[in-house]
Amino acid sequence: MNKSPRKIKKVYDYYANKNVLPNALNPEFIRLLIERGYDRSSDFLDVFMKTYNDGINSWDLDGNLYENNIVDTEISTFDAYKEIVYSGDKENLYLYTVCPFGGASSTYGYPSSYSDGRSFFYFIPEVTKKLIREESNFYLMINYGNEGTLDLHWFDVIHYNAELFNIPLDKIVFIISDFTIKENYEKYCESRKYDGRIKVFPTMWSLSAKSEEYTKLLRDEKTSFNDYHNVCSVVKKDNVDLDTVRDKHFLMFNRRLRPHRYYSILLFNQMNILDKFDISFDFDTCKTYNFDEENYKYHGTDIEFRNKLLKENKKVESGELTKRIIDYDDLPNVWGFNFEQKESYLNSYIHIISETNFYEKGLYLSEKTWKPMGQLQPFIMMGPANSLELIRSYGFKTFDGFIDESYDKIEDNEERFKFLIKEIERLSNIPKEELKNWYKSIFNDILVHNQQVLIDYKDKDKTEIRNEFLGLFR
């Protein structure tokens, strides 16, 4: 397209009663939808996952999940399809969206039991493939914008299938919540000696979503998430007694015990500083990572450090170190939205953001990053390198000076992790009175500022992002 499209329209193949059906879904898996009268609301995702376990989290079950922060998308479903087919509309941009929502592997054909190893390309109707091939304003958009963890081998699958089904690479757009995607994709293509390129675009789904949630909470409005309708709360400026010393140094939420969380809990325990934390973890129900000598190889080479961790891990194996809770006891069923309780944030000074990713490739910030901003807490980021730089690019302020934030530039994951642990240990030795004074000193200038930046984000002019996105199609 040479000029900007009038509208961006999402396109779906199948429409049943009131709902669009997920695009490029293995038809076999619509049985469940049929039994439910094509109703994808409520607990459908849970039922779907239980029925088709095997790592399948299904796709695009919300149809338009969080896409409106990427571009000003008009959801026009099937009518858009007809419009382009029958009228040859060239003014609007049509995006045939496939959303591997939380289930990228199965989308790309793994595990093979999902669809005999076939990727989602197999399940795009031929008529749709033809439109992607032939219509200049009709694109396939793989919308992985809700996730940020990327296995670069998926690009092999995309390139392979594009060739197999004769779909031009430049008619494919890949969206992911990873701000290193462009560089990483380019490097990967060079290493694989690929000629053509798909279009890749990073997005930040979590910021808008959390901005919406905190705005509601600040207005004392109710929030909900899926079937959850918890009564939630947020720390307002007036709630904070700046002169009272808080009980704990740190706040750290851990649900799934991914490696960096697992290791840090072991180390905090080993350092005897867990009593300075409001911290949640559950090695019984949320131990999603199996820590042993073999698996540690993916995360570091320092044998001494590894052995220290392994030694401490015996306390997990023996049941000595099991579980801590902060607010909600049932950790497996705690989610990033509609579980906010201000009390959790009023009892400590520094929020340790235990991001989803640490060792993984890419730069992905989930909703976890924005919690301290919303709840008026300073933070230290246990996440990917350059996270703070990205956070600051949105106008937030961080805490260099009091916290040594040079960790943000340490690309080596093992080194960054060790640096962070040392820094947390240093901070744990700071008297709470001193923390109180520091907190007071930055309260208005940084913490209240950050909360305001966060709630303003949802209304921020997205023209720049939109234009950048549309630039892909020119």
Binding site: P27, I34, R36, Y38
Partner: protein, 456 residues
């Protein structure tokens, strides 16, 4: 026409259009797979989905395979259930229409499948809640089928399950006496009426009249041929009614698989009338087989057939327009011996075979279902007691009816052909009336109006 708006309601819209109602949901994933494999919106021939041909009917971009949809298309709205507004839900006539396919008749479907399997729970809840939501079976293809106890019981079952009122379950068919058949079932099993049954002669309305008009629009003289789907056809002008003909009768059969047709031809030949008329009868394995044990059949049919009039290729003929061919054979004969699709004593089915003589200005005698002639009269067509003793229509015994018909034909064939010519001249007003009635039946959306009356 005024009154309520009619919506055809569907559960699924696909890249190729609305998925017709009437699929078992267990089959839908396979249907989707098939749709996914189709590479174009424009299909040259009907799409076959999971053994169900004729899928294309409600699909705007697929070839219309079902005449019914061409009748109603411009008069109804097609909507997904979930897209109906509150006002439409409450006030419109909302129909879940199930039509036959080329390889599965409606009666087969109803006989063999659980009807409620066609509907999601959402749809069922609408049917239970709103009396203006209805299930309509439209059998516009067949009419000569057997309606067993099981057929009616399956309909009754869905009526009970979905708590349908009498007006919410409708069966519309070509079968001319469907009401009587239904009432007989109710009486036999002492059951109160739970649905509506009605007849629309889908094959009589619209298509014949439209094609007649089309021919005269496109032709300039009696010698002109008009193209229909690659095949030429012609229709006699009024000015040709006085032309003298060399043969007495025309008896087109082509397909000999239906044995009642073959028996009639056998009897015509046996009575020395083969040369008096034009007869077509193609070869068929069934006839060949029967000839092995039936000496008489072998003598008069097996040894001499096939008989052709216009086309020799059975495969080609099978794809011909049902109503039309070139007029030579019609113009060389004075009357038609119609060998109908069925000759039952239970149902009555008027097909295009009984209509063709009216298009081509032929008086006719019908070897068909018991009572068929009366039903044709009821539609307003004139029949020809001047030619035949029409009491054959009231003879229940099939052999006796056939013998009577053969005898009537023989009586005419025994007369000088000039006398038949005179007789023909005497019924010309009736012949013109019949053809004009066909044209009239194609006007003013009569077929749709009948449909509307049945469903609203």
């Amino acid at each position: 026409m005024s009154g309520h708006k009619i919506n055809f309601i569907y559960e699924i819209e696909t890249p190729l259009g609305y998925l017709p109602m009437g699929y078992k949901h267990i089959d839908v994933p396979l249907i989707f797979s098939e749709i996914n494999d189709k590479s174009t919106f424009e299909h040259e021939c009907p799409v076959i989905y999971f053994g169900r041909q004729g899928y294309g009917s409600p699909f705007k971009k697929l070839q219309e395979t079902n005449d019914f949809y061409s009748t109603v298309d411009s008069h109804v709205n097609k909507r997904l259930l979930g897209q109906l507004s509150d006002e439409e839900v409450l006030n419109d006539v909302n129909l879940f229409v199930i039509t036959p396919t080329h390889n599965q008749t409606i009666t087969e479907k109803i006989h063999t499948e659980n009807i409620s399997d066609y509907f999601t729970e959402t749809t069922k809840s609408y049917l239970r809640t709103y009396k203006n939501f209805k299930i309509v079976f439209v059998d516009d293809k067949e009419g000569g089928l057997t309606y067993t106890k099981k057929f009616w019981e399956n309909l009754r079952k869905v009526s009970k399950e979905l708590k349908l009122s009498e007006s919410q379950l409708i069966f519309i068919t070509n079968t001319a006496n469907i009401k009587e058949i239904y009432e007989l079932y109710l009486k036999q099993y002492n059951i109160n009426s739970f649905m509506k049954c009605s007849t629309i002669h889908f094959q009589v309305y619209d298509s014949p009249g439209n094609c007649i008009l089309d021919y005269f629009e496109k032709s300039n003289s009696p010698d002109d041929l008009v193209d229909y789907d690659g095949v030429k056809y012609s229709i006699p002008y009024d000015s040709e009614l006085n032309i003298k003909r060399s043969k007495y009768y025309l008896c087109m059969n082509r397909n000999s698989e239906r044995m009642h047709r073959t028996y009639l031809v056998r009897d015509l030949i046996k009575n020395g009338m083969f040369d008096k008329g034009l007869i077509s009868l193609f070869k068929s394995p069934r006839v060949d087989n029967e000839c092995k044990t039936n000496k008489e059949l072998n003598e008069f049919i097996g040894k001499t057939y096939p008989f052709t009039i216009d086309y020799e290729d059975a495969e080609f003929v099978a794809h011909l327009h049902n109503f039309f061919n070139t007029k030579e054979s019609w113009m060389d004969t004075y009357f038609s011996v119609v060998n109908e699709t069925t000759n039952s004593n239970k149902h009555i089915f008027i097909t295009e075979k009984s209509i063709r003589p009216m298009i081509y200005f032929h008086p006719f005698i019908i070897h068909g279902d018991y009572g068929i002639l009366q039903k044709i009269k009821d539609l307003g067509f004139k029949t020809f007691p001047e030619f035949f003793d029409e009491s054959y229509d009231t003879i229940q015994d099939q052999d006796e009816r056939r013998n009577f018909i053969v005898n009537e034909v023989k009586k005419l064939c025994d007369k000088p052909i000039s006398e038949i010519h005179q007789l023909y001249q005497s019924v010309i007003p009736k012949l013109i009336h019949n053809r004009e009635l066909l044209i009239d039946m194609a006007s003013n959306n009569k077929k749709f109006k009948m449909f509307y009356e049945q469903v609203s």
